[in-house]
Symmetry: C5
Subunit: 362 residues, 5 copies
């Protein structure tokens, strides 16, 4: 039962792209993580300034906007769509973007508007049950701010925040475009972790297969791994396109010197993608191995049966002959008839053994 | 029998592209839904006006044309080709377009003419027998009208009509191009529903497979799912091209601000397409699972046979030995000979059991 | 034997591309349909004129050339290469074109020359033995004539001729380019018929497979269908390229208004191609089904064997025990010993039955 | 043993691309055909002149160069690299080209230099053991000469030489570019022959498969065919690129009127390529057929076993019953007991036969 | 156990792309080869000068830089990142490049900067355990220097160094771009060696398969070969792109006359790639062969069982009949009854033999 429940959670669900048949541009949350209060986590910084601020009041975010500092606003919780709309209108986000922010199964993409870029991507992680889950994240990058929208708290950006706080690297001196890059970079870094985890699962599975224990669940596990790889690809492949477009984009929002970093990021995401493809091929290989393992086992079973049957069936026949009740069977009266027969049986036995040895079945 | 009939309905039929060997441009209905009277459903609206009107008289449609309002004419029934021709001539549609309107197996496409756009697409739905059927729909979009041609009444646009009636969203204030977008959007929304239904069927099938019950129909059901996916792809892939061309088209009929919506639509149809590809891969995985399930079962059958035979064949041989009628078989005269033999048999029995346990067959 | 002969006819033969090692441009017929006299079928028409004329004298074709009418010359029979050369020289065809006309395995292509277009394509049809055969056809289209070359009489253009004769459609008023389009259109129409026939064969095969009858020829029939699909693709795929190039060609020979028709034709040939791809995938599915069917049958055979053996082997062993001749076997003397044993046997029998029922083998 | 040796010869060897770690541009022969003397075969011709000349003295080749005639120099033997260098320097060939000439596993390519074109291609032929071998050939085409380098004598150009000698076709009147074309044309013609031979082997193999004889070598033969196809593709695919580049090249060395011929050549090589792809697919089909054949045979074996066992095991049990030695077995005393039992056995026998008939196993 | 350890070493590991969540541009070594002292191997040369110099002092490298000679600095050991940074800053390398130098799993790529090119590639070799290992190498090419970074000493450039020392080829007279080419050329040469080694392993495996010995490890070895091929592709495919970009790059750092060599290099790397693809296909073929081998063996096992059982089961039944104890069995009293029966048994025996011969099972 446990195995079945697990499997079901694995099946990639297609949720409605939007609450069905609503007018395009309608802001309606489609995910499952309902919260009562939208939570904001705001970091405001410049080369010689750092301030972090948490609040539940959306309006608080507006105070930071006019400053010459870079402001990173992290919005946790999408179910309270009024807050999203308030925020969206304040930053003058197009209706369709507001819709995409709360449409949790929107695929990764980038949209270029006059005053900001809009990027959707997925965070992947293995939860406590080793299930791969993906979280919908969207990000608006303007001249001096980045607003990020997540379904729930908890993400992969803690190191980034620490770097910001302690002024490590060039981030505090850079503009909002570098912050955007740093966020995507942390996401891709995280993909490496996920792929590594997957690679470990693959190795464990491969060992299991070689250990020759009969585990009828192996096929399910292989199937699950395939689905996880499909899930990862669904996050990685479109993000690769996003970064590629980002690299080629000639936007005034992106500084020349950030381009090198984006190219680097592109290299990394290609690398993730190639690894995924390689693991995919390896899983197909595992499948083949599993099939041949089954066939080999069946072969072995058949051999045992054939050897046993081939040895004893003729012997039993011989015993049957001399168990007949014909009145005139001279051999039965021979004094050593019984022993002669036993000898003949031993001969037959070893002839069969020799035959199977020659056939390399023994 | 039921299973077979069902399967047959599934087989995608290729109907003649047109009544064969007619002159190109001949308007001849190729579908199967014959009706006596073409039915028109006309909605005429502007930002402060809404009127809905049903009729069987084609000429009634002409009254709305000159108004400054947007007119959406829904033509149900294609078998009465005279009506189609009348209408087509009134809107000055090219002969080839008139032909495409009634050629039910025309694949989705877009044609650009000077005064109008012509789009063919497919509506998909599961009927009451859970059979996937597709319906041929074509649409002509002019400056201030949209004429849509369907084979029969009943479609996926009820929510759209309601939005029109109640003036929800920006639709009432927009031009005909936005109506065209809204129609395509509703169609793609519907594809999501269809794919979701398919995903449910896939899950049910997967559970069946894991439930280990022997169901000889599983292979047929997998085959059916494959065909449904082929059918969906046949509708989705060309429509993706259509929307892509629509996005890039520089037509005076499409307003600048509608373009954002079309790009959004394009994202969605790519998403449908990716889901279809993923389900396709999952079905191939199911097939593999089914094959290994069969092999595993055969393996188990073989093991039972081998264990039974390997245990009892040697024992039967021993019994056969002492059933022989040789006059001189001293063991037969031993007082405890019988019991010794029984003991030996028990030994052999447990030796075999131990052997199979070690081989992990038991 | 019949099956084998049939299969052999199916194997796509690669014939020499030309009588080997001849100088390029040598006009040598490579097909198998030898005829004594080249037969000409000439139709000369304009909007108010129609004349049909059959002859064996090549020179007769020259009379029509200068007329302001459109002349369609149908040349049946390619083995008499002198006639082809005479005709070719009269129309000033390049040597390589004359070679291509009689090289029956030339793949479909289009060549643009200053005064004419040269198109090679294949006519497909199922012959009386349901074998798919293809016929090499080439066509030269000049300003006011179309010359078509076929290996033998009999083609798919009868309806076209009738339309010409009775002046149906716009064909009588159009130029030679429209005639060329109409010919290609008839060919593509015919591909639809062929694909439909194939789809019927596929359905019959699928029914056979489900009918569970053991037909060892099914694998051969699947293989034959695969070959037919390869054959169709070999005709369709390059013709698609031809029509595509035709659509994009900026030739003075093709009028603007014909372009719409060619685009339509292109849509149709894409549709044929997609159908072929879908049937191809379905045949692979059939193959899989066949494999699982075999495996399932083997499974069933194994089960019957296992059940029979598992039930009777232990019983026979029991009977063997009490067939032994030990002098001291007290059970043999029990008055009801025999009946007790029979009872035990019945118990074992039902225990086995219960075991197999629980395993769902019965 | 013979089969194994054969197979080994089949395995495509990757030889070092050059004697490893030599300086680029080092002229070192990498093939296996060592000869003592380079042999030259020179044909010098113009429209009214033909001269053929064989020599072992490299310097002799220089006499022809200045003539206004076209000179075709055929160099047989590459192991004597000094000769190659002498010749190469005389024709002012780049060091890298001289290296490519003697590097026998160089893949087909074309290099354009100021005064000449350099083309590498492969000649394929089946040797006397029906093994497919490929020979490295390179060709330098200048304004009025073609120098061709082969590893050994013997090639596919005899018909071409004859045409030259007897002045057939337009070759004697054309320039060196046409000679180059004619050489490539002969090579592609030869590919047709090779593919045809392959197609015959395929057919023989298919017949073997249908003949149902058990030939354990079939799988090896299929594997060998696959390798041959890989070999052919390795020669054809890059040559297709070469011809494609040749067609598009705007070189002063290639006359306008030769272009038509090159386009024709391109058509032919595409045709070879398509055939190879089709045969490749057919071999995969053969593989599938072989697998199902094996499965079908196993099925048949299983059925025979099951039928024999299922019929006789119950009968033997019955006989075992009445072979027991219970003192009180009333049936044994019935006068017709034996005959009743025989009757019962016959009944069981026919019941089983009927059962297997119903299951269609008989 | 040994087999398992071996396999594990084979599994391509994905290491973190950088010490995770460090700031982009952080120089942190990610490999496993820790050394205490970075070792430098410097070659300084011009057409009439050659000097080789080894040191552990990074600063020593700076002496050579200003000379008009070409300087090739080989840095062995990446774990001492301070040295790398010192060197990197001296040559004014971008932070991201310094990061890439020590990030051992960076995939092959080329970056163009104003004053230098940066290339990452992989050296492949089989270690003493026949395990394929790859080593991360990066290279910076400036106007008159090449700096190469390796994880450890030992490489494939000894012949190149020798050529430099002895002034063979054109290398001493050429610029730094030719040195860069020569290094890449040596690397690609080495790929040929690796592929050749792989091809040998493939052949050995194929022979094993044909030798028909039952080696349960074959499937693991096939799997290992697949992984090695994946590894090689991971090194070759991106390097192909690198060389392609190098060929098309219009950098002042690359002289015109070097371009021909780079084009040649590109040909070679395409050739490696094609070979890898061919071996990949051959391994899939091996897999198929292995599957059919298993099936064939099972078939043979089944046949032996079937023949033995089918022959002796009926005979045993006959013996069972006459072992029954019916009081009235007239045959038992016939004087020659026993011999008649033996005769009948011999008849049955030969009938079965004949039957199996006819079925070609014997």
């Amino acid at each position: 039962m446990a195995a079945k429940r697990k499997r079901k959670q694995q099946t990639p669900k297609i949720e409605p792209k939007r609450a069905r048949n609503l007018s395009p541009g309608t802001v309606k949350y489609t995910g499952e993580k309902s919260i009562t209060k939208t939570q904001l986590d705001i970091i405001d910084y410049s080369i010689d300034h750092y301030e972090r601020f948490e609040t539940h009041n959306i309006k608080d975010a507006f105070n930071f906007e006019d400053s010459s500092h870079i402001t990173w606003i992290n919005v946790n919780g999408l179910s309270n769509t009024d807050d999203i709309i308030t925020l969206g209108n304040h930053f003058e986000l197009h209706k369709l973007i507001q819709e995409d922010i709360v449409t949790t199964n929107q695929r990764p993409k980038i949209d270029e508007y006059e005053n900001y870029l809009f990027i959707v991507f997925k965070m992947l992680h293995y939860d406590e049950n080793e299930q791969l889950t993906n979280e919908h994240v969207s990000m608006v990058m303007g001249k001096d701010y980045v607003v990020m929208f997540q379904e729930a708290e908890g993400d992969v950006f803690n190191d980034l925040r620490e770097r910001l706080e302690h002024g490590k690297g060039r981030i505090r001196g850079a503009r909002a475009d570098y912050l955007m890059f740093a966020i995507l970079d942390a996401v891709v870094d995280n993909y490496f972790t996920v792929v590594e985890f997957l690679s470990n699962k693959l190795e464990v599975l491969e060992d299991k297969l070689f250990d020759d224990k009969e585990d009828p669940n192996i096929i399910e596990e292989i199937q699950d791994l395939k689905k996880e790889i499909l899930k990862i690809r669904k996050a990685v492949v479109p993000l690769r396109e996003v970064v590629n477009r980002l690299e080629k984009m000639e936007s005034s929002l992106i500084e020349e010197r950030t381009n090198k970093y984006i190219r680097d990021l592109y290299d990394h995401i290609i690398q993730v993608n190639e690894s995924v493809e390689i693991y995919r091929e390896m899983i197909w290989g595992l499948m083949d191995m599993y099939m041949t393992t089954i066939s080999n086992k069946m072969n072995e079973v058949m051999k045992v049966l054939t050897i046993m049957a081939s040895i004893f069936i003729p012997l039993t026949f011989l015993a049957g002959i001399y168990g007949m009740n014909f009145s005139n069977m001279p051999e039965l009266q021979y004094h050593y008839g019984y022993y002669y027969l036993l000898g003949a049986m031993v001969l037959v036995f070893f002839a069969m053994i020799w035959y199977f040895k020659r056939k390399k079945w023994l």
